[in-house]
């Protein structure tokens, strides 16, 4: 008799109807968004202030470069001495005073530009001013040396090496960032999912043991059915929770940013910088590259591989969690068994971060993308960089074979463990159970 659907249904419904589960599901995104909103709001308060910078340009070389921007205004001072200017600015309580003295040459001038302020100015303001001045002064210096600026601009060349694999896949530097981003996100998501919902499975098995219902149930159901039912039911509840988190999260995000009128994603002084950058034609090109980089990702491969490796990797680990849950009587006893599970997971994430970034097809990353306990995470991180299909398939089959082995192994421990009450087993005993 196949009771699997019935068990899955019960596991799913009990999880989903559980009060703390509901509260967690609804509250987590709210708290997250609230935190982001508060942080964004506070930093905006800080940046919404319009900064007025007074400029005393005695050299009269750079006067025209200070154009008012949304959050930065320039107040040009004329015909005052430096000391007077300082007094005026201090009295007016504006942000600060930029002083450009008159010097014989541009070379001498660059060493004498000063910024006076009450408190030390923000780094972004200073670097913004510096780059403005640099651009103008460089041009002046070039003119001094008799170089025709128009010719110079005309001769400017931007080299962008197009990377292409032998089979015609185009890549670029920005591609790499995208790939890295996707790989890290996928690997990390799997890692989190395993830890959160693996624990949930373990707890629900311990609950069955402590409430002593287990023997009643396995007199009607095969232990392996019960175990699989628990794993699948809990995972479905987990997916439900994830989806709700994403929905509530994005809805709240939209609502909050609409109500407060804040752009949660971007902060304002950076906006000015961005505007500046966008005016630069090179950056605009890069932005376009980035868009095409996204479409350059092997998207179909990514999605399929993500689903397969995610499911197989998750099931592999959750069967181990199930076995631990069956072996112990209460949650405090699980500690000694958790370490060997968490270890390969953490290892996988670190390998992903340190070696896949360096060299996605190097020996270390390749080997670990085949070892079943690390392969889901490492392979997911490698795939955006283009992994031959045979490697993906081979790795997946190794993973599935191991998964079946661990389920068999876990089911053995499970069927003996669930009937053992009142003592904390050692590793030795658990190995013995497999032979029963």
């Amino acid at each position: 008799m196949n009771h699997l659907p019935l068990i899955i249904k019960r596991e799913y419904l009990t999880k989903v109807k559980n009060k703390s589960f509901i509260i967690m599901t609804i509250l987590s995104p709210i708290i997250m968004i609230a935190l982001i909103a508060v942080v964004a709001y506070l930093s905006q308060l800080n940046n919404n202030k319009i900064r007025t910078i007074s400029v005393l340009d005695e050299s009269e070389l750079v006067t025209d470069i200070f154009q008012n921007q949304e959050y930065t205004k320039y107040n040009m001072l004329n015909n005052v001495s430096l000391d007077d200017a300082k007094t005026i600015v201090e009295a007016a309580e504006t942000y600060g005073l930029l002083y450009i003295p008159k010097q014989d040459s541009v070379t001498a001038l660059v060493k004498h530009i000063k910024f006076y302020s009450k408190e030390s100015p923000s780094l972004s303001v200073i670097s913004g001013l510096e780059s403005k001045l640099e651009n103008r002064l460089r041009d002046l210096k070039l003119q001094e040396q008799g170089i025709d600026l128009e010719k110079l601009t005309a001769s400017k060349i931007h080299v962008n090496i197009e990377q292409e694999s032998f089979i015609g896949e185009k890549t670029s530097k920005i591609d790499s960032y995208f790939k890295l981003g996707f790989g890290l996100a996928a690997g990390y998501l799997l890692f989190m999912f395993i830890i959160i919902y693996g624990n949930m499975i373990m707890r629900s098995i311990i609950e069955e043991k402590t409430s002593r219902i287990i023997e009643v149930i396995i007199s009607s159901v095969k232990p392996i059915q019960l175990m699989l039912g628990k794993i699948i039911g809990t995972s479905l509840a987990g997916i439900t929770q994830f989806v709700i988190w994403i929905i509530i999260g994005s809805v709240l995000m939209t609502v909050v940013s609409a109500i407060l009128g804040i752009d949660l994603m971007q902060q304002t002084p950076q906006n000015d910088m961005m505007q500046q950058a966008m005016e630069n034609p090179e950056v605009a090109v890069e932005m376009q590259n980035a868009m095409s980089a996204f479409w350059n990702l092997p998207i179909a491969n990514l999605i399929i591989a993500f689903i397969l490796f995610f499911v197989a990797g998750y099931l592999l680990y959750s069967s181990l969690y199930a076995a631990i849950g069956a072996a112990v009587d209460n949650e405090t006893d699980t500690q000694q068994f958790m370490f060997p599970i968490i270890m390969p997971l953490v290892l996988a994430v670190y390998i992903g971060i340190f070696t896949v970034i360096e060299d996605p097809h190097g020996t270390v990353s390749t080997i670990f993308s085949f070892i079943p306990f690390t392969s889901p995470v490492v392979m997911l991180m490698r795939i955006p960089f283009g992994v031959p299909v045979w490697q993906q398939v081979l790795s997946f089959f190794i993973l599935v074979a191991t998964f079946m082995l661990t389920v068999w192994f876990a089911a053995k421990i499970y069927r003996v463990g669930i009937l053992m009450y009142g003592k904390k087993p050692s590793y030795k005993e658990i190995i013995k159970w497999i032979k029963y």
Binding site: M1, T14, E207, R212, E215, V216, S220, K222, L419, Y421
Partner: protein, 308 residues
């Protein structure tokens, strides 16, 4: 088919530990079969083998003429000693779930549950959670769930633990009623008085071996010592005792009675009959009490375990 369940030479080892050694039992159809034994004797392992929770290392089990198969779980109702229910689940939902696991349809399970809940007067518990109920209340629900699918074979492991005397009696009556309706019951317990009341057949397991089995009356016959408890009245009790002792194997004893008579246990030899004894006693005094001593299940249990 005379026997509903037969276990043939079932053995089970857990590592170096032997839980069952070549144990065979036959449970006649329609009987209440007492599975007795001290703690750790292997009763629960045998029950788990019958429930297909544990696979035996050797030996096999026949249920109703067929070798035990996985679909037979529908024909067995099992109330384990270590029992419980999901604490945070509602009574009704939980009972429905467990009934469906035993192969009942949801609609059918609902009808039967309603019947049983009314019968045991627990109808208003349907929407309560188990954690709101007392232990005895939860036990009642467990009993209902065990018998709901009307199995041919019912297995109760210490069914009365956790019940107050009134409810224990209620459950005992229900078990007997189920038996009358054709169910066969295996009953595992330490409480010998319930064995006397309920069981037709018993098997005694001690240190993984079956040391005794059969019909309870046959076993009693086998264990009886031809001893009679006798009360006799005469003016001089000391002389009377001496006289009787000369002729029979007698010893002083005590039992409750209204008279101040001479109280003796008299063990008859092979060639002596109860009639001979009685007619001799009536010839020398006034017999007020004459009863054959039949060993109780408790005596048999203790003696059989000691002898092994």
């Amino acid at each position: 088919m005379k026997n509903l369940l037969e276990a043939h030479a079932v053995s089970k080892n857990f590592g170096d530990f032997t839980a069952l050694n070549n144990v065979s039992i036959s449970v006649p159809k329609g009987s209440v079969f007492g599975l007795l034994g001290p703690n750790g004797a292997g009763k629960t392992t045998l029950i788990r083998v019958i429930n297909q929770i544990t696979m035996p290392d050797s030996g096999h089990v026949i249920l109703d003429g067929e070798p035990l198969q996985s679909h037979h779980v529908q024909n067995i109702g099992y109330l384990p000693e270590e029992r419980g229910l999901y604490k945070s689940m509602k009574v009704g939902e939980q009972a429905l779930y467990l009934a469906q696991l035993k192969g009942l349809s949801k609609a059918e399970a609902k009808i039967r549950l309603k019947y049983w809940f009314e019968r045991l007067e627990i109808g208003d518990w349907w929407n309560k959670k188990i954690q709101e109920l007392s232990k005895g209340m939860a036990q009642k629900i467990q009993f209902v769930v065990t018998v709901l699918h009307e199995p041919k074979l019912l297995i109760f492991d210490e069914p009365f633990s956790g019940f107050d005397p009134i409810n224990a009696n209620l459950i005992k009556d229900e078990i007997l009623r189920l038996k009358e309706n054709g169910a066969t019951v295996i009953f595992s317990t330490h409480r010998m008085e319930s064995v006397e009341e309920l069981c037709d057949h018993i098997a005694l397991i001690h240190q993984s071996n079956k040391i005794l089995d059969g019909k309870l009356t046959d076993i009693k016959r086998q264990y009886k010592t031809n001893t009679y408890e006798v009360g006799i009245n005469a003016p001089d009790k000391i002389t009377l005792a001496e006289t009787i002792s000369k002729k029979f194997n007698a010893s002083l004893t005590d039992f409750r009675s209204l008279n101040d008579e001479l109280k003796l246990n008299i063990k008859l030899a092979e060639n002596e009959s109860a009639n001979d004894l009685l007619s001799y006693l009536t010839s020398i005094g006034q017999v007020s009490h004459f009863v054959e001593l039949i060993p109780s299940a408790n005596d048999i249990f203790i003696q059989a375990v000691k002898n092994n």
